[in-house]
Amino acid sequence: MTFSDWLRVDRLPHIYCAGCGNGTVINCTLSAVDQMGWKKEETVFVSGIGCSSRAPGYIVTDSLHTTHGRALAFATGIKLANPSLNVVVFTGDGDLAAIGGNHFIHACRRNIDITVVCMNNMIYGMTGGQGSPTTPRMALSTTTPYGSVEPAFDLCELAIAAGANYVSRWTSYHVKELTRAILAGLRTPGLSFIEALVQCPTNYGRRNRYRQAIDQIEYFKEHGMLVEKARRLREEGKEIPPDTIILGELARRNRPAMGVKA
């Protein structure tokens, strides 16, 4: 068994643009699910609306493509109705942080035994590149033509504050680490939140001086910093550059979880 056995081959090639990072995150997630050794009948993929949420359509298992922002609400229902199912949620930044913000906070608070993989492309990709809650400061988009003036949302900090059991952040360049992080999240009881920063060459890259998909991947490669190094720099009182992406395992706890298989 490899991850390619989980794909609906008749549906490929998928709808994503050339160079979109969502396909990479699908590879990593399926690879991790495959290493868990779960059966296809016992695994459910849930998603909301957006580019990232088209992913379960390309996976052979049962899947739900639900309403905008409500993927976690549906996943909660699935998990509590039948705790023997393994639930993985694909979601995007606009889906999770903007319209689904409260669902996300309360899913973390309840600590339901699901794994949430957030493909954060820092923009609303599917609807034409509007600014999302995670659009970095001074980034251009259709609704922020002079640069975004709002500070961006830090989804991982939000998940930690709300009480998720496992939180980590990687990018679509770090495929091996992302696979390992998702695997750790699948193994952890309670809500595991993995944020995967992905490149969006069509709507984000073209407006923000990343001409090719490779350019934004190079940006992730250069600006990523492991959380251990960031902690060390803070202890030494050194400056961390403001555009640094903190990567790695940010939280692992053992709070009481809901919906765990007895």
Binding site: L12, P13, A18, G21, G23, N27, V175, K176, Q212, A213
Partner: protein, 90 residues
Amino acid sequence: MKLHVDEKRCKGCNLCTLVCPYRIFRPGKRPNQKGVFVPELDRPERCPNTRLQALYGRTLCGMCQMICPDQAISWEEEKKGEKRKVAIEF
């Protein structure tokens, strides 16, 4: 085993050219039937996975396959009687 790029799925994003430690993938120069510039393979027999996957019983490296957003890269078994090129580089 041999390295295979599925021209039906590839969209020509060239992410494989970035990650391969052996620089086996090169940006394509000629469009295929769909107008996609599929990356060219530069001496693909150097790929460690083609040589050693059967020996170790697991995927070695596999970075290009993981990062390919279109699931276009795979390793295929040779057919019976098909010629194999073996390269040893120092």
